[in-house]
């Protein structure tokens, strides 16, 4: 009886437990819903695309499909570093389009309960725009910033994206 109830509940709320892919940027840990992530690949040859915002690193050939690559360090105004053997491209589907995001390192998939997500603190120091933070997860040893990339590419920004010259 009780199990049946919780099951219904979890279906209704899209699952109490959510899985996050955690990755690092400048020693900070971030999380993103695993359902957003299509694949994680190593660095490839990136073709620069002129006249794009600075954080658009270029495009890559992902098995015959050309997808844009965004450097999250640059996007968040963090210091630019050299790519190393841990650098990864996380390929995600953002508003219906495949896109790659360069991160320092991808660490693991973690399960957290939705209750653990706290609203983001009012002031964010690291330069991440407030609106793309979906929340903060405070676990015993670690602090995880939950990102919402759909918000990051708000309609406004998407337009800019293509018109910045």
């Amino acid at each position: 009886m009780e199990t049946a109830l919780t099951k219904v509940k979890s279906e209704e709320y899209g699952g109490e437990l959510i899985q996050l892919v955690s990755f690092n940027l400048e020693k900070e840990e971030y999380g993103i819903n695993v359902l957003m992530v299509r694949e994680i690949i190593r660095m490839l040859n990136i073709t620069r695309v002129p006249n794009t915002p600075h954080y658009v690193e270029g495009v890559i050939n992902l098995r015959g499909k050309v997808i844009p690559i965004i450097n999250l360090r640059k996007k968040f105004d963090l210091m630019d570093t050299e790519y190393d053997k841990r650098t990864r491209i996380m390929v995600m589907e953002v508003v219906g389009e495949l896109m790659g995001f360069i991160v320092d390192e991808v660490s693991e998939v973690i399960r957290i309960s939705e209750k653990e997500i706290q609203p983001p603190p009012p002031v964010v120091s690291s330069g991440i725009e407030q609106e793309c933070m979906a929340g903060v997860i405070n676990q015993a040893e670690r602090l995880l910033v939950l990102l919402d990339l759909e918000k990051m590419f708000s309609a406004d920004e998407r337009r800019l994206f293509s018109n910045v010259a």
């Binding site: 040859n45 073709t47 620069r48 695309v49 002129p50 006249n51 794009t52 658009v56 270029g58 495009v59 890559i60 050939n61 015959g64 499909k65 050309v66 997808i67 844009p68 389009e97 495949l98 896109m99 590419f153 998407r158 994206f161 293509s162 018109n163 010259a165």
Partner: protein, 608 residues
């Protein structure tokens, strides 16, 4: 009402067949109006309608049956020469065909919507009224109108009944008519037996749209021969793949390492041959005759001409010219706008034409032809032509350009003003024109296709719009160039020539770098600067200039070196990067890297 059809395949077949028949029908009907005594044509039309009727009654689409049946009856009388074809009859028949199209579109959309069939049917019925065979149904003058009122409540039984009625089993419809007679009596006055222009207009517009949606783009009919050829080629490809696997395993086991290079060379040659054949085949399969677009124009021209009170002959050449599906889909709208303009602005009224010493009837020539790897479509009218002064004045009035700008313009530039959004020579916006949108649509769509528009104009004698379009959008020949270690691809279609020059030959005129080329002065554009590439080679004093042309404009692009010519498949950059100036897309090179495709139109526009 959702469609209850058990056999989806049957339904698909019905839709495909009906769509095809209806498309042909429009064309045939227009031809029929021109040559009413053509018995073959008449029979063909009759057969088409009959087929549609038969198939829809089999599948139980009652509304369709009802309309097609009445249309068939009218056609039948025409066929037996009991009626003579007048434009009024044709209007009604066309309206009925439009209604049929709408109904079919509804079915295709998956939902049958109750539509008002009665208005159209009522207009058909008067033409049946003197028919002896159907006298029982329609003998009293008022009867047809009653029938119209009777139809909605009797919907499920009516089609069957009226079908029989057509074969002279007249007793049945009578009782059905009798009851509603009383209640509907007052309304009967409203619909007149003669189609008035006003009621005709409205129903015509809506279905016309439906008719366009009707054009089926989700499935393709391919010649079996072409499919067989394709299969053969794929077989070849499989063989070559096996050969490759064999070669690789031989190489790994260390057999004949010396011959490997040789064998591999042969293999890649064959593979090259097979793939390019395959590419041709697939390309051919994607090709459609431009007729698919052209065949709706006679109908449009006819309606427009009647609305405008002009007499127009539409002459179509080269409708068998084939081009890529993607292009066919895109050129429909621009052509409609151009044809509309030709009729509305270009051609004069019969009186004006006679006064100007021309034939009463104006001519619009629509033609298509291949020219190299381009297709050239032209719309030519023998009307009054475009008056550049008037264009310039209008553009000034509307505040689209300034006096100084106009003063600096040549005739060609002034004519180009008509493409500006918001430009219109009409004082008043009508439902036909005047919003200043049409030509902008033309330009946008043609640009999207990488095409060129040329205007030939002779004041008083007509104008001609020439569209030059690439045959296909998916694969293009391109020139690969290097710009400071970055590889770009320039569509070969727009490359006019390339040359190696010393940087000393560049001149500066008004802050613009130019090159003296034979007897002209060519503006130059450093791709390295436009694309913000890091300068790698600072000590080189020679470079290459790629001269590209878009429409009448020429510009020289400065690149570091030329890498060669390659056939490339265009890949979109996705919607985030779709509007980059000077970049038209991307392609994947032999080594798996992405190379960007330069968009000469964007560059030329930006530099001018």
């Amino acid at each position: 009402m959702a469609i209850d059809c058990e056999d989806q395949e049957l339904l698909d077949g019905f839709l495909a067949e009906t769509t095809e028949l209806l498309e042909k029908l429009d064309d045939d009907l227009i031809s029929l109006e021109k040559s009413p005594e053509d018995a073959d044509l008449m029979n063909r039309i009759f057969r088409s309608i009959h087929t549609v009727k038969g198939a829809s009654s089999f599948l139980g689409f009652d509304m369709l049956v009802k309309v097609t049946h009445k249309t068939e009856d009218v056609l039948n009388r025409l066929r037996k020469v009991e009626l003579t074809l007048t434009p009024e009859i044709m209007d009604v028949i066309l309206e009925a065909v439009d209604l049929v199209k709408t109904l079919v579109a509804d079915i295709k959309g998956g939902d049958i919507i109750e539509r008002d069939l009665e208005g159209t049917i009522a207009k058909l019925i008067p033409y049946l009224s003197e028919n002896a065979v159907e006298a029982t149904v329609l003998a009293p003058v008022f009867a047809p109108k009653e029938e119209k009122e009777a139809a909605p409540p009797a919907a499920p039984t009516e089609p069957a009944a009226s079908q029989q009625a057509g074969e002279a089993a007249p007793a049945e419809p009578q009782p059905a008519k009798a009851e509603p007679k009383a209640e509907s009596a007052p309304k009967q006055v409203a619909p007149s037996p003669q189609p008035k222009p006003q009621p005709v207009k409205e129903p015509q517009k809506a279905p016309a749209k439906g008719g366009e949606d009707l054009a089926d783009n989700s499935t393709v009919r391919v010649d079996v021969k072409r499919l067989d050829d394709l299969m053969n080629q794929v077989g070849e490809l499989v063989l070559e793949r096996n050969r490759m696997i064999q070669l690789h395993s031989d190489y790994q086991t260390g057999l004949n390492p010396a011959e490997f290079g040789d064998d591999f060379g042969k293999l890649s040659k064959r593979l090259n041959f097979v793939t390019s054949e395959l590419q041709m085949q697939v390309l051919k399969m994607r090709m459609l005759p431009v007729e698919k677009v052209f065949k709706k124009f006679p109908r449009i021209v006819r309606n427009l001409a009647r609305d405008l009170g002009k007499e127009v002959d539409l002459v179509i050449y080269g409708e068998e010219t084939e081009l890529d599906r993607s292009v066919v889909d895109e050129i429909g709208d621009p052509l409609i706008h151009l044809i509309r303009n030709a009729l509305d602005h270009g051609l004069e009224t019969p009186e004006q034409r006679l006064a100007a010493g021309k034939d009463r009837t104006g001519t619009v020539v629509l033609s298509a032809a291949h020219e190299g790897n381009q297709i050239v479509i032209s719309i030519k009218d023998d009307g009054r032509g475009i008056d550049p002064d008037r264009i310039a004045r209008k553009a000034l009035d509307k505040g689209l350009v300034t006096d100084d700008q106009v003063a600096a313009m040549g005739t060609r530039e002034i004519l180009d003003l008509i493409f500006l959004p918001g430009f219109s020579t009409k004082e008043q916006t009508t439902d036909l024109s005047g919003r200043g949108v049409g030509m902008d649509v033309v330009r946008t769509n043609i640009r999207k296709l990488n095409g060129i528009i040329e205007i030939k104009n002779e004041l008083g004698h007509g104008s001609e719009f020439i569209l030059k379009l690439p045959l296909t959008l998916a694969i293009i020949q391109s020139l690969l160039v290097e710009v400071e270690k970055e590889v770009y691809s320039i569509p070969l279609a727009s490359v006019i020539e390339t040359m190696r020059v010393s940087k000393k030959e560049f001149h500066m005129i008004g802050g613009q770098e130019v090159l003296k080329l034979r007897d002209s002065v060519l503006p130059l554009l450093r791709l390295q600067r436009t694309f913000g590439c890091h300068e790698v080679y600072t000590d080189r004093d020679t470079c290459y200039v790629v001269i590209v042309g878009v429409a009448e404009k020429r510009i020289g692009l400065i690149v570091t070196r030329l890498l060669g010519q390659q056939e490339v498949a265009i890949k979109s950059l996705g919607k985030f990067l779709s509007n980059l100036p000077g970049i038209g897309g991307s392609t994947i090179m032999g080594d798996g890297r992405v190379a960007l495709i330069v968009d000469p139109i964007g560059l030329v526009g930006g530099a001018a």
